[in-house]
């Protein structure tokens, strides 16, 4: 079982780890298929609270947008994999992660003509 935490802004990955209020925790079975999905709402945006949730929920991977170096290092010390600077849909992120094809900096959303 592997727990993946996604930091959300609606249906998309939130641009900033420290300002997000919505989380999605997906538990993947040994075959890589989602076993359980849970939405978590934080009372207020806080990177510290998010780090505590990562620890208490036994999360192995965090998928997020911009994250401050301090928290990236902290989670690294806790042996939590952080895939950061993701722009785009959380569903696409989960699907790519399951295929082992998600890496930091990936752009998952379609650009629209500005």
């Amino acid at each position: 079982m592997r727990n993946v935490l996604l930091v959300l802004d609606g249906k998309n990955i939130a641009p900033r780890f420290d300002l997000a209020l919505e989380l999605l925790i997906v538990s993947l079975g040994n075959d890589g298929k989602p076993v359980e999905r849970r939405d978590v709402l934080l009372a207020r945006p806080s990177a510290e609270a998010l780090c505590r949730t990562v620890a208490s929920e036994n999360v192995q991977t965090v998928i997020c947008g911009g994250i401050e170096k301090e928290y990236l290092q902290y989670l690294g010390w806790k042996n939590v994999e952080v895939i950061h600077s993701i722009i785009g849909s959380s569903e696409v992120a989960v699907s790519r992660y399951r295929k082992g094809a998600l890496k930091s900096g990936d752009l998952l959303s379609e650009r629209r003509k500005a």
Binding site: D9, L107, R111
Partner: protein, 467 residues
């Protein structure tokens, strides 16, 4: 009546992109739907995104400005015909940068909003670097009171004024990044970009494209990438872990330093780079230069001006200073009333070896402040790896199943390194009352090395029941 020069200027065909690129503060043009149309070179340097990468993306996903999420400045700009806000952004290098942002709507002939323009001014210099703070005990955000650091603080103002490349050496977590940043902020290039690039763990082609840039179409499907040298134009490029740079790129970097000419990947056209390079490594570059894994000439070029940062365990009184500094900074950030350490906690922290240096100390203290529920940090608030062995072994004195180490070695044993090593381990264990982590410290080994060797020599500790 307008000045004739202004009228002439109005009729000129001006390349707007070129003009915006030369402006030293970040400029972003966005559509009515708040999607990026263009960002200038200064904003590319600040955010880490290239203009082509972020074209068409929602502005909040690229700029990551904190006010975007609860106090959208574009809404304000619509109401007020423009607004100025201070806040922070998080860039691609995971740095939180304080900025002053200005927003204004661009209107067409009919007065309808057709786009927005936003400027972002980097406030790091104003927030972090106060020249008044230059004294023998600090420089920029680096603090220390030990004689080694005092010497460094005295040399930093001089080094910052030189425009030559600088090599910073020191173990992981000794503060090389902070020193590089402080050198930039104290230099005449301070108003221009400070760009960081880490060579470690990246494939050679990626390092080359990131560092020197890529011409559009250099290889199938490749787009334009400005490269760190272009982004750092007129400023400073900080290359971390330069010891990991591939030999072919060492040659290219040497050419860039000597001729100040950069050839992007796939381009025959060069550009002149006015960039100061600060390099850092935790490796022994002199040794690498001797054994041929690092170019001698590049090493000599970089090492002409060099700075070595001592490990934390050699900084004596700085340990306490840094502990208090991180404690107060974290406590104030979390609005906690934690004001000090208990005696037992202090003793543990002062006895620990800090292989991760200041970075490790900072994480330990921040973790402890986060957990602490009292005014003083107790032993139980520290990360488990610092205390578990000590408490286990304090409670349960080990019984060693080997002869007493005081027994003199025989002549044959003296010739046998294994016997000597075994005796060293036993002596160390006896000296520290069986505390394995203290024994490892005494022997200058990691705890896992000690445990492996104890297992190898059959030194077993048997737990006795608590009384």
């Amino acid at each position: 009546m307008r000045h004739p020069g202004v009228l002439q200027l109005r009729d000129l065909q001006i390349n707007l992109i070129h003009v915006l690129d030369e402006i030293p503060i970040g400029v972003c043009l966005m559509s009515k739907e708040r999607r990026i149309i263009f960002i200038n070179r200064a904003l590319e340097a600040l955010t880490g995104f290239s203009s082509s990468e972020c074209e068409g993306l929602p502005c909040s996903y690229v700029l990551r400005f904190n006010n975007c999420f609860d106090n959208c400045p574009v809404d304000k700009a619509q109401e007020l015909e423009g607004c100025v806000l201070e806040g922070d952004i998080i860039n691609q290098a995971n740095e939180k940068i304080p900025v002053r942002a200005t927003f204004a709507p661009l209107k067409d002939g009919a007065g309808e909003i057709s786009a927005y323009v936003e400027t972002l001014d980097d406030l790091r210099q104003a927030c972090n670097f106060d020249p008044a703070r230059i004294n023998p005990f600090s420089f920029g955000r680096i603090i220390g009171r030990s004689p080694q650091m005092e010497k460094i603080f005295q040399s930093l103002p001089v080094l910052s004024q030189l425009d030559a490349p600088v090599l910073i050496t020191g173990q992981i977590g000794t503060g090389k990044d902070l020193v590089a940043e402080a050198l930039h902020h104290a230099s005449s290039r301070a108003r221009n970009p400070f760009i960081t690039f880490r060579c470690g763990g990246l494939p050679e082609v990626l390092v080359e494209s990131e560092l020197f840039g890529v011409e559009k179409g250099a290889f199938p499907g490749s787009g334009y990438k400005p490269g760190k040298f272009r982004l750092a134009q007129n400023g400073t490029l900080y290359i971390a872990e330069i010891g990991d740079l591939a030999p072919s790129l060492q040659t290219k970097l040497l050419n860039a330093l000597d001729a100040k000419t950069i050839y992007p990947l796939g381009s025959t056209k060069s550009f002149q780079a006015d960039v100061r390079v600060i390099a850092a490594t935790s490796r022994h570059l002199s040794q690498m230069a001797q054994d041929g894994s690092f170019r001698n000439d590049l090493y000599f070029r970089l090492n002409a001006v060099s700075l070595h940062l001592p490990p934390l365990k050699e900084r004596g009184e700085d340990l306490r200073l840094l502990m208090d500094h991180f404690l107060h900074a974290r406590a104030s950030l979390l609005n906690k009333t934690v004001s000090g350490f208990s005696d037992a906690c202090l003793k543990t922290l002062q006895q620990y070896g800090y292989p991760g240096n200041i970075l490790e100390l900072r994480h330990i203290v921040e973790y402890a402040v986060g957990l602490s529920r009292t005014e003083r940090i107790e032993l139980c608030d520290l990360p488990a790896y610092l205390t578990e062995d000590l408490t286990d072994l304090d409670a349960v004195p080990p019984v060693l199943d080997l002869p007493q180490p005081s027994v003199a070695l025989s002549a044959e044993e003296r010739l046998d390194w294994s016997a000597v090593e075994r005796k060293m381990i036993l002596d160390a264990l006896v000296k520290v009352n069986g505390r394995r982590s203290r024994a490892a410290q005494l022997l200058g080994w990691g705890r896992s090395t000690l445990w492996r060797k104890m297992k190898h020599y059959g030194i077993v500790s048997t737990k006795v029941p608590r009384k």
